[in-house]
Symmetry: C2
């Protein structure tokens, strides 16, 4: 048995995860960020203690260790968080703090890596040697599997799929650069693009324009309008899927994986999104007739963080 902790900017989710990657029990508490690492770690340790006591009382098996996913880069020793803007942290050895507080072996990793690990252990990457996860949410994140394990780079700073340069864009990324994939292929990106089209008075009679004036836009509304043929929304979705296909094509040309999976909120656009990408993808791949990378949706959904964190402890112990 393992404890998986998904430390997010909003909530701390903790789960008891078995060898097969199944969540047996779970608990959560608000993060109340920004707070110091010690304060947040105290809450994490408290949740871990309740879960381990319950597990013991119900004879569910010995807890071997704790895995923790954080929304920022972690060093290659799976110990120190380099920086975490959402939590207000800089250089925090969360492994040391939590091992001291809990008495269990603790391993820390970036949440996107753990989402990929969850797919590898129980989801879309089962049996794959090489695989790539794109998480399409507020930003674009990702995890990479090479040779059957999570690839983290030489200093734990790798697989920042959202910050690949893809050409000039009309607004800059939060990271300070212009041209990041995240500014073309995140939920934020499609909203900003649709808003720009509305401000530029492209199709002022469109349904999307009406929704914008009524209560603002979100990615789901844009995809829903596009599915209904709304001309403005279709422009936004066409550009979105062009760049996402280019980003996926880059990963095929570069890493030639068995499988690429799409997760995150935008992935709920479902088959409509997948069809648009599949239309555009051959243009961006070099060996159009030889490549057999499978493109599918991620399978672990909202549980990815906790499952992946549990599986991190399993993998590292």
């Amino acid at each position: 048995m393992y404890i998986g902790v998904d430390l997010g900017g909003t909530n701390i989710a903790v789960g008891l995860v078995d060898e097969a990657g199944k969540i047996i029990k779970s608990a959560s508490t608000p993060t109340n960020a920004p707070r110091s690492a010690e304060e947040i770690a105290k809450d994490i340790a408290g949740l871990c203690k309740s879960i381990s006591e319950e597990a013991e009382a119900e004879n569910l098996g010995k807890i071997e260790g704790i895995g923790v996913g954080v929304p920022g880069p972690v060093d290659e020793k799976l110990a120190s968080v380099y920086v975490c803007v959402n939590l207000g942290w800089d250089e925090v050895n969360l492994k040391a703090i939590l091992e001291e507080m809990t008495g269990y072996p603790v391993f820390i990793d970036n949440d996107a890596n753990l989402a990929a690990l969850a797919e590898l252990e129980v989801g879309a990457f089962k049996g794959a040697q090489n695989a790539i996860l794109f998480t399409l949410g507020t930003g674009v994140g990702g995890g990479v599997v090479t040779d059957g394990h999570i690839y983290r780079g030489s200093h734990g700073l790798g697989t920042e799929l959202g910050h690949l340069y893809m050409g000039e864009n009309f607004y800059d990324c939060n990271c300070g650069k212009n041209g990041c994939l995240e500014t073309f292929a995140s939920a934020t990106a499609i909203i900003k693009h649709a808003e720009k089209l509305i401000i530029d008075k492209v199709y002022p009679e469109s349904e999307l324009n009406r929704l914008y004036n009524q209560h603002g836009l979100n990615a789901k509304a844009i995809f829903d309008c596009a599915k209904d043929g709304d001309a403005l929304a279709v422009i936004a979705v066409e550009r979105y899927t062009k760049y996402l296909a280019a980003g996926i094509g880059n990963m095929i040309n570069l890493l030639d994986p068995d499988v690429i999976a799409l997760g995150g909120g935008v992935a709920y656009a479902g088959e409509y999104l997948m069809n648009k990408i599949n239309e555009k993808l051959p243009y961006f791949t070099l060996m159009k007739d030889k490549v057999s990378t499978e493109l599918k949706f991620a399978a672990t959904g909202n549980d990815a963080g906790v499952i992946g964190a549990g599986m991190l402890a399993k993998t590292e112990l």
Copy 2:
């Protein structure tokens, strides 16, 4: 002892390579492409026979096997060439043909992978766990080292660094796509861009303009003129190094390697090129103050192909 074969579009170079990756003897013959795989394989086998007979006569040690680099993608079994435009080949099991002709175990790989393997065994990547080679020539090629070995992808089609999408360009790539890194960062790319500037009458009094009218352009002339401050050449070099820095930054953000090396003809622009890239690189890397990827020049030069091919046989046997 191994035999390394560098099968290029122009020449077939063959070398006797020792355990340490040193070329002990070498020989070559023109490729005379396009020709059938059988005809070219006969020439390769002939050169291998002469070299092995010399090695035997001089008591240089037993030849264990043959490695062959080809200018095209090779399947993950290191046996079949998928396609090779320069040679006019499609789906050729060169391993089977050469094993039949020579009696030795034979392994085939893409020449860019073997250039990276040469760097890993005897050059800029010695001791590295994760490393990336950019070869900056007529096109842009590359090889990737992960976890201390050459990364080839699930079907042998990976690490096509030259075909990463980098935004719109004013001309299309040979692969049919617009926006490939190769169309921004190859020798061909900087020549085409400088020619465009000349045709657009930007700085018509420039030295580069004079050279163009006299005998046409090459990448070396453009870099030489830029070093001398020629305004037209400086524009071309600035754009070239912006996109090359973006491409290198993408690989740092994605694979966070220990080292990135630059090889190929354009790399001879030397420290001037390196300084321009180092100026621009921090803009494109996400973790500017944390990343410690080393950027350097490739070390094996023109021998990379033969050394890498010899080391392929060593690695695979």
